[in-house]
């Protein structure tokens, strides 16, 4: 069969069907080469475990020639096409089989591809299982309420705390004057998350205030705090503070005591 050019879709254009009233793009049908290969095998009611994969080569190439492939995954499609063509060529030229290899036994390459297919099939089945359950019978946690906690005798906080809090705020240096034009923010939450994770990679715990002490600007400190909160939200760290305004202990989740 003559090889035809493979149609290519730019970027992710086809991977995300655009839903809506009467307007839908749904291309390509197969996001990955393994998905396509598995479909070709199963739609012919062949057994993944025993079908010589070379037999599926033509169907695979034909599909590739007719249907566009999205650019990011093109190389995977082509790599598997190449593997299939190679498998087929070996079957067509039995004389070329390496000595010792018997007709009909799997070549190492075929083994690899078959194992990938089997692995992928298991995941696809698991995904189908998940799909059947998606949101149908969700387990719901509870939103806590103020009234949950019994009116335990709480020691009243000194109201001077409030004024002290404002005095501290007033004493803090004013933020730098806003720049006259928009400049790229030099410090991102992502950067500070990495910095915090690095700091945690040693003992698994770090005092927030000591990290903040190393910050060069108010905005860097603010971003660091946001990064810490983000990590807490993702449950990667736990925050502990035993006394008001005391040291805030940041602990990597899973860190031993």
């Amino acid at each position: 069969m003559p090889l035809e050019p493979v149609a290519i879709l730019p970027g992710h254009a086809g991977a995300f069907p655009v839903g809506g009233t009467g307007f839908e793009i749904r291309l390509p049908i197969f996001e990955g080469p393994l998905q396509l290969l598995l479909h070709l095998i199963e739609s012919r009611q062949l057994d993944v475990l025993s079908v010589p994969l070379a037999e599926v080569a033509d169907a695979y190439l034909e599909h590739l020639a007719r249907n566009p492939v999205d650019a990011p995954n093109l190389s995977e499609f082509v790599a598997i096409a190449a593997q299939l063509i190679w498998l087929k060529s070996r079957r067509l030229l039995p004389g070329e089989l390496p000595p010792g290899a018997e007709e009909g036994t799997d070549e190492p390459d075929e083994d690899d591809l078959r194992l990938r297919l089997i692995e992928y099939r298991a995941i696809r089945d698991a995904a189908l299982w998940l799909s059947a359950r998606d949101g149908l019978a969700p387990l719901m946690p509870r939103q806590p309420r103020e009234s949950d906690l019994p009116g335990a005798p709480v020691v009243a906080l000194p109201h001077g705390l409030l004024a002290a809090s404002l005095e501290r705020l007033a004493a803090a240096p004013e933020p730098e004057a806003p720049p006259s034009e928009v400049v790229a923010r030099e410090i991102t939450i992502g950067m500070q998350i990495r910095a915090l994770l690095d700091a945690l990679s040693g003992s698994g715990r770090v005092i927030l205030q000591s990290v903040l002490a190393g910050c060069h600007s108010r905005s860097e400190a603010a971003v660091t705090v946001l990064a810490m909160l983000e990590l807490a939200r993702r449950r990667q760290v736990r925050l502990e503070q035993s006394t008001l305004f005391g040291p805030i202990l940041v602990k990597a989740v899973g860190a031993r005591r």
């Binding site: 939103q143 906690l149 019994p150 109201h159 409030l162 005095e167 007033a170 108010r218």
Partner: protein
Amino acid sequence: MTDRTATHDLAAFYEALLFVAERPLTLAELAEHASVPPTQAESILETLGLELEAGGRGLRLQRMGDEFQLVTAPEVGERLAGYAAREVARVTPAALEALAIIAYRQPCTRSEVDRVRGVDSDYVMRSLLHRRLITEVGRRDTPGRPILYATTFTFLERFGMTSLEQLPALSSDAASKVAASTGPDGEASQIPDAG
């Protein structure tokens, strides 16, 4: 399915429903959610209450008039009190700042709090609302009609005060910091109809 199984299943449903509900539910609502007449809903709730009690569970069904809610069992109250005391005592510096700003300049909007603190206060405001330390008291009559917040009675209790006049005077620096920043919301001192 026997009647008893059906009742038990509906009791489990009510337990879950009351667990996720954000407020006590009325008998009428509970009946509607299970598509049963109120009398049957009542007997299902009775079953639930008995099952919780007989099983020695950590939760109980509480009835107030025709409203129902799940609450913690009295047997565990003492143990929980220790936990509760620790939780309630947790006021973060950020929350304290926001609370202080609101206390001294109430009523005020969230963006005023943001401006004084120099950072976004969305989360702390929600946590203060959740703890009933502040409450919405109306809207400022400026574009966008931002919500105005004020402190509550719970706030006074929490800080051992009987009135706002007991708040200590601020230093001039702090006072100007709190008072000065009026922003796009308009006049900070304009008090709305709390209506």
